[in-house]
Symmetry: C2
Subunit: 151 residues, 2 copies
C-alpha cells in the first residue's frame, strides 16, 4: 500500500502520530490530548461502569463488567508514556509540574495503578471480588490524583 493509497484510506492524520517510536516525535499537544483521551475512557469504564456496579447504582452483569475491566486494564498501560519531557506545556491540562520534576516518583504511583488495574478482569467475574478490587484500584487513582492532578 503506497503513501497516496494510505491518504485515500483516510488514515493520513492518524499516521502522522507515531506513538512511542523513534521514527517520529509526537507533538506535546498531541501527547497531552492522547493521555487525556485515555484517562477519559478509563474514567467512564472504571467509575461509570465498574464503580457504579460496586456502588449498587448499576446492576452487575458479568459480561459487561469483564469487558469494562479488560478495557481499564489494557488502557492503564497507555497514558504514562505520554508524560515525557516537554509535555508539561502545549495545551490546557491539569497535570502538576511536579510530574516533570521527579518523573520516577510519578512513575512509581503509575505502576501501583497499573498493578491494581491489571487485577480487575479476573476480579470482575464475581461481584464481591469486583467490589474489593474496584476499591483497591480506586485508592491508586486517588493516590496519584491527590499528588499530581491540579484542582
Amino acid at each position: 500500500m503506497n503513501s497516496s493509497a494510505w491518504k485515500a484510506a483516510g488514515c493520513g492524520v492518524a499516521l502522522a502520530i507515531v506513538a512511542g517510536s523513534a521514527f517520529a516525535a509526537p507533538k506535546p499537544e498531541d501527547e497531552i490530548r492522547y493521555r487525556q483521551s485515555v484517562f477519559n475512557v478509563i474514567g467512564r469504564n472504571f467509575g461509570g461502569v465498574l464503580g457504579a456496579i460496586a456502588k449498587g447504582e448499576r446492576p452487575y452483569d458479568q459480561a459487561e463488567a469483564v469487558k469494562a475491566a479488560k478495557l481499564v486494564a489494557d488502557l492503564s498501560t497507555l497514558p504514562f508514556a505520554s508524560f515525557g519531557p516537554g509535555t508539561d506545556a502545549g495545551a490546557s491540562h491539569k497535570s502538576s509540574p511536579k510530574i516533570w520534576e521527579d518523573p520516577a516518583k510519578f512513575q512509581s504511583l503509575a505502576d501501583k495503578f497499573q498493578l491494581e488495574a491489571a487485577k480487575l478482569p479476573a476480579a470482575a467475574a464475581d461481584l464481591a471480588t469486583l467490589k474489593a478490587q474496584v476499591a483497591e484500584t480506586g485508592k491508586t487513582c486517588k493516590g496519584c490524583h491527590d499528588e499530581y492532578r491540579l484542582k
Copy 2:
C-alpha cells in the same frame, strides 16, 4: 463502600458519568468528549502503530501489534452509543448532522468498521495478514469519514 468513601477514593467525577445506563443520562458534552477520546485512542493505535507497521515505517513486533490490534478491536465497540439523540450539539465536534438525520445508515457504516476491526487481533499475529487487514479496516474508516466527518 459508602458514598463518602467513594468520593474519598477520587472517583466522584467519574462516577457522575454513567454510560449507556438508564440510571443517569450523560450530558451531550460528555458524550461528545467521550466519543472523541475513543476515536483519538483508536487513531493512534490503528494509524500510529498498525498503520505505520503496515507502511514499513515502524518495525513489526508481534506482541506490540497484537496489543494495538486488541485495543482497536475493543475500542471499536464503544463510540457509536455516544452519537445518541441530542449529542449533535453541546461541544465542538466534526460530526456531520447527517448522522442524526439517518442514524440507521450511520450505524451500518459503524457496523462495517467494527466487523473489520474485530479481525485485527488475529491478523496481527503475522505481518502479511496484518497489512491486508489494516487495509480492509482503513477502507471502513474512510467510508465513514467521507460521509460523516466534516472537514
